[in-house]
């Protein structure tokens, strides 16, 4: 495996991204040292390359990527993995608001807790949160899966139209158009398959609560 190392210490996000895109054509893996929580890192990468950040990243890390496997050995700011259309973004630490916002496909994994509005307006794909997720998780969800291993805040799945939210911990309240559904054996198997792939060790997969839309038709006002 050919690895390209980029030292981001004295580079602007634009310069870092240019170097990542150039390296993605020729290398299997790109290792970025000293990302220093800068914004917009690894935006719009369309090659199936591995990208690893040795530290924290800022806002919109991995936004609009398609197929890249991004690993962040630190925390992420707001909107990590925003609008990806494939591949995966794995955050070893925590993340801010809007993790996995608007994703079309692929997987966003945050090993620790995240802020609010996780998976807002997502269309497909999977978001996994190892810790807690805040207020309005899954707001305007239009498809895909969100899996929360910790607790979740108020108004889960507010105005959800399609998709499903699984929660292992406590749920503060459900949002409009969200309801509980029975967890099936098939659901448990899918959860086990998905979570074990990302090295989450769950003792009982039948303990998840499942949240789905009441109505799958758009609705306006109450």
């Amino acid at each position: 495996m050919e690895i390209k190392e980029i030292n981001a210490e004295n580079l602007t996000p634009r310069e870092i991204n240019s170097q990542i895109k150039e390296a993605a054509k020729d290398y299997d893996k790109i290792l970025i040292k000293n990302p220093n929580a800068k914004h917009y890192l690894a935006a719009g990468v369309v090659d199936d390359t591995e990208i690893e950040f040795d530290g924290s990243v800022g806002y919109f890390a991995g936004t609009m990527c398609d197929g890249a496997k991004i690993k962040i050995n630190g925390n992420a700011g707001w909107f990590v993995g925003d609008n990806i259309t494939g591949g995966e973004v794995i955050v070893e630490g925590s993340a801010g608001d809007g993790a996995g916002q608007g994703i079309y496909d692929g997987t966003v994994v945050v090993k620790e807790s995240v802020g609010s509005r996780t998976g807002e307006i997502m269309k497909n794909g999977t978001i996994i949160i190892g810790g807690n997720s805040g207020f309005m998780t899954g707001i305007f969800m239009m498809g895909g899966r969100i899996i929360i291993l910790g607790d979740v805040g108020d108004d889960v799945a507010e105005s959800i139209i399609r998709g499903v939210v699984y929660v292992k911990g406590e749920i503060k309240s459900l949002g409009n158009n969200a309801k509980f559904d029975e967890l099936t054996f098939q659901d448990s198997l899918e959860l086990e398959e998905t979570l074990s792939k990302y090295e989450f060790d769950i003792d009982d997969y039948s303990k998840f609560k499942k949240i789905v839309p009441k109505s799958t038709r758009p609705f306006y006002g109450h």
């Binding site: 220093n36 929580a37 800068k38 914004h39 924290s56 800022g58 806002y59 630190g74 925390n75 700011g77 707001w78 630490g93 925590s94 801010g96 608001d97 807790s113 995240v114 802020g115 609010s116 509005r117 805040g134 207020f135 805040g153």
Partner: protein
Amino acid sequence: MCGIAGIVYKDKKLHNVGNDMTNMLHQLQHRGPDSAGYSIYGGTGLKENEYILKIQVKEQKNLLEEVKETINIKTPIKEDEVLDSVGDSFIYKCRIALDEFSQLKPLITKVDELENVIVINGSHDFEMIKDVGSVLDIAERYDVRNVKGTHAIGHTRFSTESGVDRYHAHPFQTYIVRDISVVHNGQITNYWKVRDPLERKGHVFETFNDTECLVHYIADKLDTGYSLEEALEQSVEDMDGPFSYIIGTPQGIGIAKDKLGLRPGVMAETDDVFAIASEEVSLREVVDTHHVEQISPGEVMVYEI
């Protein structure tokens, strides 16, 4: 979009917080290019009845003498200096003594009555430094990196609601309770509903900037027996709009975030330091940890020494 930051050294000793806050704010420069400012607490070394005044004076013949005379009529100036600035004005800084804190606002009002003169700040336990331009330029202009203190709050401004000038740069302060200042990211959309009852109680508003109503609101609560934490919690109930803001007091700092969490805020702490900021990139200047906590919608955090 604006950037806000706060830092407290837990040992209550003097540290280079001017330097720390400059580094924190420089990392938040992209959140606001218009102006920047600091409130640096704990390092003024003033006697109990002493205050610093910072006054913007236009370059105009005899105007500075008029300013000095206006102050001297009320109380003798003990020490003063002129700080160079940008534009057609300079900053006149002086040290005075007053029998009561309540005499400070009337004095400031008197000085403000002079044409082309604006009092930027009057304080006892903190030094306010604010101006238009970039963080690094302001830090150099006023030698901020060498200002010592126990804690500080700071701001980079992206103006939305009012003019871009030195006076409208954050922090804002109040003269109802001594040494309370605020930095703010966001908008208070029920501004008039908050301002009106405060004005009826005697608070004097100098601007139409929504941040000013925050500092009056908190001062009013502190003045009526609320703790800082209680005042911040009540503000989350009473204020509408997207906001996160940091209050500085002689005892410490506190942050409040709106109920929908529409403005960012993160916190990190070590055994030595408690720090809050709009973004992790700013925290990393002063805290060597990967453990960063998101401040939740409607959440309030206070650290007092």
